[in-house]
Structure formats: structure tokens, C-alpha cells
Symmetry: C2
Subunit: 228 residues, 2 copies
DNA sequence: CTTTTAGTTTTAGCTTGCTTAAAATTTGCT
DNA sequence: AGCAAATTTTAAGCAAGCTAAAACTAAAAG
């Protein structure tokens, strides 16, 4: 019934999605195998091994010792999985009221299980949302993905100016709970009042009061200039 | 990330669910390995092999050469999967309007991907349905499963009396399309007007006209005496 | 009570995706 | 340029779940 196909496909899909996400996140085409190993929690050797198979299937290009890159076909598969994942997140959050910090984990499994036809139905049911509950853009059914070019990481913006939160990049449940607890959400206004060079942390001001964010956290919060 | 656990669990789950379904369908405790092999589309050897592992995990009892039986723990897992499957079917059908004949296939994949917590949310969202769109009962969250003791297969009922359709047992998409096309659905009134001994087919009467059903089909349609 | 037939189990071997260990290559630093 | 550290690749091997084929068991039929 599944001939190791399920497993195989699952592994393939997870690898492709990881390459796509790392590529988008780091803003580069070529992804280091080490990043993959860390992200998927396997050894470098396992990644190197799998890369051979992905190359054989025409999904990635291997620049020996330099890193890997998705082919057009690989990108198509990657965006499809990201689309499935983010649509499930919207659905779980808006329709079933699953808490913000639990949806990622649940969607991680559902993304592999649903057909394209079903995802299109869910897309329609949800009214064709453009972003997921973390603010990440949702690829279209045809495989296109648009970005907000004006977005900046919170640790890169100018001090003293007003910004609006647009996106939280892949933060785990613990961080999301922490941020929610302190009043953070998509659309909230924030301002950097002080930055500390020794650890690159920032002190920010928002409706709920002020808050100190580590470099790691502020880096994953994206904002645009306030229109006020 | 998944250590071959995903594959393992998927296989385990499919085997357990199949044993549970065959056991319920045939009304016996002990299931022949051959049935499993046919259902899962693998060789007898593969089933025999897997049975060893399931025994080791305490999920089944192997009556050597006679067949296998689920332990209490095995039954619990089996009913859980049946619950997931049927809840997804209701959801797909009532909320997303996925056609009757497509929901089984889609649910087959989703049932493995969702957590118990999510299924409970979906159960609540759907208003705690008691049967799926094919009329099959949905096990409770605590693992109990109730039957309609008055149900009879359409090829066992008395000629000339009025009955109401309550359940379609695991019919594939083609049959479901066929039946829908001829006006069959849960709650429809039917009457057996004639039965043919040579092939055990039956001629039935219903609102939309009369229809000849083969033994194989009539056997999978369940009804109760009409209350009119 | 033996033979036939149907179903079960064992054996040997395959593929996938993983591991560890060691070898090869690149990169960064002086 | 040259060496050390980091990364990538290869090699050998393991577990899961499958197949094919051979060996076995049970039960029905003569």
C-alpha cells in the first residue's frame, strides 16, 4: 500500500520545504547542508545522502562542497508545501480557534496529508487569505509567492520612529506565548527607544508598556513604517 | 526529526485500524491474516511479519495459524483512528462541501495527521455528530463505540416491507456515485420487491423508481424498519 | 485416515533513510 | 602561502517494512 513511498515522500517533502524556507529566510539561493542538518535534526551525512537522491529526482542542484539550490521543480514543490502549511494555520486559528502558539506544530503534520484540491477548497472557504496568523505570506495555488518589500527586522529599524508589526518569523510556541503575553500581535504599534550594543538587544515601547527584546527575538519580528 | 518513527507509526496505525474494521465488519474477534493482506494490498508475509511487532508492542494477540485479535490497547488505538477518520469525513462533507464520494480518500490521510486535541475541537465545532456521512457511527473521545442493533443488510430484509437507509458500509467512490445518481442517500425509504436466487441480487423500489442491486452492493447497504 | 487445498510462517534479500567514523575539500586566519 | 577549523562527502552498517519463494499447519473432502 505504501511501499516506503509514504516515508520516502515525507522525507523528500520535508527536505524540499526546509531548503525553500532557509533560502527565503536567508535571502540566498544556495543553502548550506549544515543549516539543513540543524533544521531537520539529522547528521550532515544524512543530508548529503539525501541530496544525491533529490538531485537524481531533479529537485535540487548540488554545488559540490558549496551548498544546494532548488530547481524550478523543487521551488514549485517547496512553495506548495509552504502554501499548505500556512493555509492550515489560518484555518486552525480562525475557524477552530486553536491558540496561536499551537497551530504551527499541528500544521506541520496536516500539510503533508491534504490534496491540492482540498487545500484550494479551504483557501476558498477562508476567503483567500494572503497571510497566515504569523504574518507570513501564503503562496498562490499557481505557485507564486509575494513579499512585502518594505518589511524590516525590528533590530534594523531607526530608533524613535513608529512602526507596525507585520510578521513573526518561525518563532516557537514558547516565544509566541511570551510575546502574546506582553501584548505583541500583528498590527500592534512599536517604537525602538534604546538599543544595547553589547548584546544587540533592544528596548521597545508599545501600548502595553516597554519591553526588552534579545537580538534573537527582535531579529524575527518584522515591521513596516507606521502610516500615522 | 522522525527517526523512521513516522513510517513505523503509520504502518502500525494502518494495521491496527484494518484489524479493528475487519473485526467489526465481520462480527468476529479473530481476523485472518489473509484478509489483512488483501485489505492493505501487501503480501501475507508482510502481515505475518508485522504481526510479530504488534504482538511485541502489546497491541494484538496471535492465535498461531488461526488469526489475530486486538488487545484492549489495540482496540483503543483502532477506535481512535476510526474516530479521526469519521470526524474528518463529516467535516469535509458538511463544512467544506467535499462530495460524498471523495471524502473517504482524503480522510484516509488526515486521520493520521491530527492530534487528539484537534479532533476534539473539530468534534465540538461540528456539534458532536454521532455518525459520518455514510451513516457509520463515530466512536467517542473516550473510546466507546455504539451500534444500531436494529440495522439489517438490505439483502437480508423481508420482501415488501418498508425500510429506511441508515448506513453505507465502506463503498468506494464509484459505487457511491452510482448510488447517489439513483437517488440513494441516508434516510431514503426503500422496499425490496423481488429477489433473484441465482445471483442473490434484489430489485428494490424507492421514490426515484426501481433499481436492481447486485449481492455485493445490497450487502453493504444497511436499513432499519420504517416507522411510518 | 489420508489427501488436497487454503492459509500461515520462515528465510533470504531489497530499499529507504538514518547513524558513526573517517577521508576529502573549502575557508579563514596569520 | 600555509595551517587549522569547519564543512562536505564517502563508507560501512542498522532498522523498518516490503517481496518472493519455500516450508509448514489445519481443516475439509474423499
Amino acid at each position: 500500500m505504501y511501499d516506503c513511498l509514504v516515508k520516502h515522500q515525507l522525507a523528500t517533502q520535508d527536505y524540499i520545504k526546509s531548503i525553500a524556507k532557509l533560502s527565503l529566510k536567508e535571502g540566498v539561493d544556495v543553502v548550506k547542508l549544515k543549516w539543513m542538518a540543524l533544521k531537520l535534526n539529522v547528521t550532515n551525512a544524512a543530508v548529503s545522502d539525501m541530496v544525491k537522491k533529490l538531485v537524481k529526482e531533479g529537485l535540487v542542484i548540488n554545488h559540490a562542497y558549496k551548498g544546494i539550490e532548488l530547481t524550478d521543480q523543487g521551488w514549485f514543490m517547496g512553495r506548495r508545501l509552504i502554501r499548505h502549511h500556512r493555509l492550515w494555520e489560518v484555518f486552525l486559528h480562525t475557524t477552530l480557534n486553536v491558540p496561536w502558539d499551537e497551530i504551527h506544530e499541528e500544521a506541520e503534520h496536516l500539510e503533508h496529508a491534504a490534496s491540492d484540491a482540498l487545500m484550494n477548497r479551504i483557501d476558498e472557504y477562508l476567503g483567500f487569505p494572503t497571510t497566515d496568523p504569523h504574518g507570513n505570506p501564503i503562496p498562490n495555488g499557481d505557485g507564486t509567492l509575494s513579499f512585502n518589500a518594505n518589511e524590516q527586522s525590528l533590530n534594523n529599524v531607526s530608533d524613535g520612529e513608529d512602526y507596525v508589526v507585520t510578521r513573526f518569523e518561525s518563532l516557537d510556541a514558547t516565544y509566541l506565548q511570551y510575546l502574546t503575553h506582553h501584548g505583541f500581535a500583528i498590527g500592534v504599534s512599536v517604537k525602538v527607544v534604546k538599543r544595547f550594543d553589547f548584546d544587540h538587544s533592544v528596548l521597545i515601547d508599545m501600548a502595553g508598556g516597554s519591553l526588552q527584546l534579545s537580538y534573537q527575538i527582535s531579529q524575527q519580528i518584522f515591521v513596516v513604517k507606521s502610516m500615522d
